[in-house]
Amino acid sequence: MIQNILLCGVGGQGILLAAKVIAAAAVKSGFEVTTNEIHGMAQRGGSVTAFVRYGDTVFSPLFRAGDADVIASMEAIEALRYAHWLRPGGLAAVSRQRLIPVTVSSGKAKYPADADERLAKVFPRLEYIDCHVEAKKLGDARMANIILLGALSRGLDGIPSPVWEEAIRACVKPQFVEGNLAAFRFGRKE
């Protein structure tokens, strides 16, 4: 068994924390785990991606387009950009948040008005959540990434709920544990 996860978003949205929790949960479940983070000039507004793989034997931290069991995106149209990485039947967990790129503000490109329809068409299995709004309702908009983590966890095999929660406890500061557990359960629909 091997599970491939592709996380995407825009610099500063917290996808690296999500990658860290998945890795911790997979390690606790006894799997070999690798992650790869695309750094570089990412914090300055560019697209960012992180790969996570776990399973019985993992050689390389990267995998091929079309092999992701789950893709999770913190931004609506970034999910479309990486849609071809998802395997047939895989799960897409996408946040409704829209971040307007400078190329749009400068009039050089358009942000698609029909992003919702496109997502629905491209992803037969879609968890489409207003993560920031829901996180705010739960007390802190910064937990949006953990809601998305909960949603994406529904598409992964081999990690039981208590292990996910243990991993969250290990990865976030003590004062944020309860809030983040609530956010995770909301995303996982538990």
Partner: protein, 579 residues
């Protein structure tokens, strides 16, 4: 104990376990985090040097002085440090020394795609190539052993993917080492030609011994033994990708990549019907294998440029099997998506400088750093860029070429100390007439905010003397030196006007802290009053990511989550709509 470490964290761990006592480096993606992690361990002295040459020479002094030393840099850094490395190969060292170079296949954050193995051959130094964080730790420890076995520095070559991937790594405790007292020996350590010729011969002998030892080293060179039809020779992370992509093939993964293990290559080739060399970068291994009289596939099926990702490796597999290969393509719904190029942060002081420069008809020669992004629209204020320190020297040459427009040379504060000072000295000495600017944001920003000689703090966290750019420039003979806050648009405009037309060399220090680092400089977000806004879009000429227009007809709005209240947009709005 098992820890989930990135390659760079594992390099630091391995060096620490190996008893490294001193480490030097200059920040450069993807190598930077090695020293940032190593400095957290006890009993290791670590420093950021002003440039890679200084770092390598310091590490050499430490290793000859009897302690294990490490120097880290990115691929282009080795261009700067190559001079001492060549000679150090002759003199050798006393305690172990590792030169860690992180290459960047795919050019995620580098101006060139260099294959450091060329340097290893040129300097005649062994090179180890780890493929995972597990090997980053263990190869680092081995590299120090090999270094002491042959009394020469060892190059450990990483890549972006190796440095930034996490694996579960088994760690151990540190093995402390005694300092080996230095014993005078000029015929070894002073390579005058008289002694240099003897040293030269010894280097060749050393290489022959290494090729034999490397052939026998089954810890560094491993074989995934599967079928006997196809045999793959590879190294680094690509070898791991091959092990996954080709379950039917045997894979020879070379960890000790140079000097080539000829014996091992011959026996492996003899054990398989067909051989394919799948190497990222230049066909170094392939050409050598052919020179041994072994027929093989190589660059006939493998791209020369870019990263060998699993997808590329799959395409190589298909080519070797004579199958067509069709990877999934981006979906049609993604065909017209807006791109997200990297850009200067909201409230970045470089933006203010470039905006001011955009009001003049000048040629701008730039340098390596966040301010390289000044080349993109809407600012488009960089015309030429080569390397660190080049901002000053290119301007000088351009101006000597008879360029009729004023020529402006820009470097950052960290690159000023890296290699800008000599360019400034040269400009004054040789009566140049360019206008030099240091865009001084008080840190090495692009690589994640490292200290440098101007910040007043060392990597060990100690307060130290902060080098004064103005005083250095004056000491070099620069008569006109002005310091301005770029957010004071009027003052900056006045200073530029005067200095561009003064007919003498001059230096402008454009000084304001990096907003990403100096969180205390962040002010409340501004907002646009929609009633006062006449949608003239003057503010959008700043290219600030916090200024958004969801579609081209709408009036701009400010994203309060991104805005740092720098006031630039308010200053350029002709209708006073922003406050």
């Amino acid at each position: 104990m098992k820890q989930h470490l990135t390659g760079n964290e594992a390099f630091a761990r391995g060096a620490w376990e190996a008893g490294v006592a001193a480490a030097f480096g200059y920040p450069g993606t993807p190598s930077t985090e090695i020293l940032e992690n190593l400095v957290k361990y006890p009993d290791v002295y670590c420093e950021w040097s002003p440039n890679e040459k200084v770092a390598l020479e310091s590490a050499a002094g430490a290793a000859i002085g009897g302690i294990r030393s490490l120097v880290t840099m990115k691929c282009v850094g080795l261009n700067v440090a190559s001079d001492p490395m060549m000679t150090l190969s002759y003199t050798g060292i006393v305690a172990g020394m590792v030169i860690l170079v992180a290459d960047d296949p795919g050019q995620h954050s580098s101006q060139t795609e260099q294959d450091t193995r060329h340097y290893a051959r040129l300097a005649k130094l062994p090179v180890l190539e780890p493929g995972s964080a597990i090997e980053c730790r263990s190869f680092m420890i081995k590299a120090f052993e090999i270094s002491e076995r042959y009394r020469c520095p060892v190059i450990v070559r990483s890549t972006t993917c190796v440095s930034h991937s996490r694996f579960s790594v088994e760690t151990a405790e540190r093995q402390p080492r005694e300092r080996i007292p230095f014993v005078k020996n000029p015929s070894q350590f002073v390579p005058l030609p008289l002694w240099g010729r003897t040293l030269r011969r010894k280097v060749e002998e050393r290489m022959c011994r290494q090729a034999v030892d490397s052939s026998a080293d089954t810890e560094l060179n491993t074989i995934f033994r599967r079928g006997a039809d196809l045999g793959i020779v590879s190294s680094g992370m690509v070898a791991l990708e091959c092990a996954e992509e080709f379950p039917e093939a045997s894979v020879l993964k070379l960890g000790w990549a140079w000097p080539f293990p000829d014996e091992l290559l011959r026996t492996f080739a003899a054990s398989c019907k067909r051989i394919a060399v799948i190497e990222e970068g230049d066909p170094i291994l392939e050409e050598h294998i052919r020179s041994l009289g072994i027929a093989c596939h190589g660059k006939d099926v493998t791209p020369r440029c870019g990263e060998l990702t699993p997808e590329v490796v799959a395409s190589i597999h298909a080519a070797l099997d004579g199958r067509p290969f069709q990877p999934p393509k981006p979906v049609d719904e993604a065909a017209d998506l807006p791109s997200r190029p990297p850009m200067l942060c909201a409230g970045c002081p470089h933006r203010a400088l470039f905006y001011a420069l955009a009001q003049f008809d000048v040629i701008v020669t730039g340098d390596i750093g966040c301010y390289s992004l000044g080349v993109f629209p809407p600012l488009e204020r960089t015309d030429l860029l080569i390397c660190m320190g080049g901002g000053f020297t290119l301007a000088h040459g351009m101006q000597k070429a008879g360029e009729t427009r004023p020529v402006v040379g820009i470097v950052g504060d960290s690159t000023f100390f890296h290699s800008g000072i000599t360019g400034l000295l040269n400009l004054v000495y040789n009566k140049g007439n360019a206008t030099l600017i240091v865009s001084d944001n008080r840190t090495t920003a692009m690589t994640g905010h490292q200290d440098h000689p101007g910040t007043g703090r060392t990597l060990m966290g100690e307060a130290t003397l902060a080098a004064d750019i103005e005083a250095i420039a004056r000491a070099c003979g620069m008569k006109r030196v002005r310091t301005v806050n770029p957010f004071d648009l009027k003052a900056m405009h006045e200073v530029l006007k005067e200095e561009l037309t003064c007919g003498e060399p001059s230096l402008i220090i454009s000084r304001a802290p990096c907003i990403l680092k100096e969180k205390t400089a962040v002010k409340p977000a501004l907002a646009i009053n929609a009633e006062k806004c006449r949608n003239c879009k003057s503010c959008l000429k700043l290219g600030c990511p916090a200024l958004e227009t969801p579609d081209i007809k709408a009036k701009p709005i400010i994203n309060a989550q991104l805005c740092t209240g720098c006031g630039m947009c308010s200053a350029v709005c002709p209708f006073k709509a922003i406050s």
